[in-house]
């Protein structure tokens, strides 16, 4: 693709030979003379100078030292858009229903929907325009999927799961499985608590591969407001192998990295970031909080919290504690030495 064509497609100003052919995409490290890369700021100056890359998407005020470039307010976001130009998705399924798909009679399909081989759509399902259901997807009855969604192979959406628009569900994700709840009978045996309410997922959410999200049960409540479904807000990004138990509510704009787990009824306010393998149990997590990797939140936290550790504590304190921990064996010895010097009783210690 020519530099000028790419600039036009992305709507960005460019510098350099308009007919220059861009052949690939790369990082500054890897890139060769015909590759396109990106620079997000001045911190990459040295790497930029060493790089053999041909063309870069750079901030408006970045000195390109004579190199070919496109200029952008958000170079990484525009690089992401450039990928679709230079390396388009050649494998996008065509619209149409594969002859092996099993659709109940009352299923409603929007315009240009694609339904892959062996997909199974239960009674009452509705699929919005241009959405893609890959092979081997199972939709239980009454699933509703909005427009421009992509549901990958082996994903399963259970009864009454409702998706908005432009949502990606990766392979093997399970949305709407029964919540984990059992009530003890008088004789000590247990009865399953039926989870009959659904899951609602907002526009532009992402659900990672083999992630599981449980449906809601009708007797659950928390935090004094109504919960009628497990609810994932708009643009919530959920990575692989995340576990979201029944009746969680995750407000708009949150990010949950790989293997994060939320216990039943967790309430997460807007724009919270959960690092890899973090989680929360019976807590309300305040807006804009930053939950570090491997961190477990066990109680309600105010907006803007920055937490690390298990149980979670304030991030700065956690850094000091973990640094001090390495010196704990030494500290024991020092206290013993002091006690000796003072001829104090050490009975408690041995």
């Amino acid at each position: 693709m020519k530099l000028e064509e790419l600039a036009t497609a992305l709507g960005l100003p460019f510098e350099g030979e308009p007919s220059f052919q861009i052949r690939g995409l790369a990082s500054l490290d890897d890139g060769g003379p015909s590759d396109l890369g990106f620079v997000t700021g001045a911190g990459y100056r040295e790497l930029f100078q060493r790089s053999a890359i041909g063309v870069v998407i750079v901030p408006l005020d970045f000195d390109v030292e004579g190199r070919k470039c496109l200029r952008s307010i958000q170079p990484y976001a525009d690089f992401a858009r450039a990928v679709d130009q230079i390396m388009p998705d050649r494998h996008r399924p065509s619209p149409g229903v594969h002859p092996t798909a099993v659709l109940e009679n009352d299923v409603e399909l929007g315009a240009d929907v694609s339904i892959g081989a062996y997909a199974v759509l239960g009674s009452g399902c509705m699929i919005g325009a241009r959405s893609i259901i890959h092979p081997h997807v199972t939709l239980y009855p009454d699933v509703r999927i909005g427009e421009d969604c992509v549901i990958h192979s082996h994903a399963c959406l259970r009864e009454a799961v409702h998706l908005g628009n432009r949502i990606h569900v990766q392979n093997g994700a399970v949305i709407g499985s029964d919540g984990f709840g059992f009530a003890f009978r008088a004789d000590g045996t247990q009865v399953r608590v039926p989870h009959r309410r659904g899951v609602e997922i907002g526009d532009e959410a992402e659900i990672g591969s083999n992630t599981t999200i449980d449906r809601s049960h009708p007797g659950h409540s928390r935090h004094g407001f109504e919960v009628t479904a497990t609810r994932i807000g708009r643009a919530v990004k959920i990575d692989n192998q995340v576990h979201i138990a029944h009746d969680c509510v995750i407000e708009d704009g949150c990010t949950l990295c790989g293997q994060t787990a939320l216990g039943g009824g967790t309430y997460v306010e807007k724009n919270v970031f959960f690092g890899g393998r973090s989680g929360a149990i019976r807590a309300r997590v305040g807006e804009g909080s930053l939950i570090g990797g491997w961190t477990g939140v066990l109680q309600d936290t105010p907006p803007g919290s920055k937490l690390l550790g298990f149980p979670a504590i304030e991030r700065g304190l956690w850094g000091r504690v973990t640094a001090a921990l390495k010196r704990l064996p030494e500290l024991l010895r020092r206290v013993r030495r002091i006690e000796k010097a003072l001829e104090m009783d050490q009975s408690e210690q041995e």
Copy 2:
């Protein structure tokens, strides 16, 4: 549904207008005048008084202050049963074999079994009466499933997995995958250790979505008793994304919350509770133990242990340790100050 009808269906005494129409289910927080909720004890008195809910299932001696109620020894268990009355499962598949299901000739099906679209049942499989095999379930050869089981879509049961009765397997669960074992050859390369023994699961067990349970290998042993299969006892409740390695034995009545992991050959005695993302490695966990969330058991523990942390320690001690941890940086400073006051050498510390 009328109050009197519900009371009859559940076999419970009731108070209030017999023909009162119950229209929904809710918690005390959410409930409106035509909803049914429940109260488990006196601790909910205040919430009960504030609630707008119409009917409640309450303990026998709970003062309902004139409200409509049903009386129960176990209100939560009876509420769970009420869900099936008020909000029945409308999506239960009908008995019969879908024409697209692939069954080997020697498969045996009990009365009123339901086999969904694209299910695959290998040679020698046996399905008990009234069990439901949802679409896209794969049963390898020689799988046996008892009566009244429900196997959800995309679950996979490998060779010689045997299930009892009234078991639920959620979507995407894998039961009987090969154990993770490799033996080193003299040249440093590895040979796979074939895991050819199966998995046995007792009546009324629950297997969560995307949970994995590995089969057994014939040279494995532990704890001086015979292990001939990975074994899950009666009424063991396993949540989503739990990982159970080869040759584990989990006795009756245990609960394993989401993302729990048991290393190969772990032995868990009866009625042990594992909190979310906990686990055990090469250990025998004593009867009735309570393993807290995120806790890792690394050695044999006596019956009734209450453990927290990694490595697991006694729960009370863990509470004191984590409280004290926050003060560790301060403690370092205090000891330094004491050493200064005593004019002691601080060489070890810097």
Copy 3:
């Protein structure tokens, strides 16, 4: 099977009656007089003497005290081979393409390939000789699988995933799902970063059930060398529910136990061992390192590191720290007592 036949099949010297019938496989604990077991060294002498087992595979110099045996340089590896003789896999699918499999016209199949019921193979897929694709496997376009591979049911290989030879992929594994990457636009909304490069997996690798491995994105780089795909080396053994994010590189001979997680772009040198539920984030892990269970590596580590804890520290130090931790509450009291004795100010502590 006769002892002599087994010895011939395995190419091992034996002692005892050649026509002795071996009927089963067992450990020293469980074994009866007609079972075959193994002993790896002198440490099992006492167990060996107590055992009722009939035949054992033992090291060359092990005194069998008159028992029947086979002698081996690597008894456990030869026991693993013996399993295939005594307890062969009766369920190995036959070569051939099941009539319900959906193969695009340009799919290329090697000799004696087996394709199971409802498998879906996209355009451009190539399957090497003798490989087995179990029912309900989905291969997106351009997947290449080498010779003698086994892909179990419900596994999904996404666009342009390339496998070498003799690889096992367990059930429900997802290889090549989209990496988790989003770029912020100027207005605060996010754009998906398309991950269009594939995953490459070396000969004799093992991929556990419900494990997820993400594909690579073309702008990613790290560690100053080229990354053109998420790459899993030769003989890398990956257990169940492992999460490997986009653009990781795992060199030959590594082992990743259950639930391990590697963040995007992690670089793992040869022969590293990751214990259960361990992981690394933005790190280069040195050759031959031993990462303990539940351990999180947050920075580059030299070859041969032995680490434990979160954040990971040297193994010996971790042992001393966790031992000392139990005494931390006591230590606080002792320091307070010293301060009292010295009549020092304790203002900081309360």
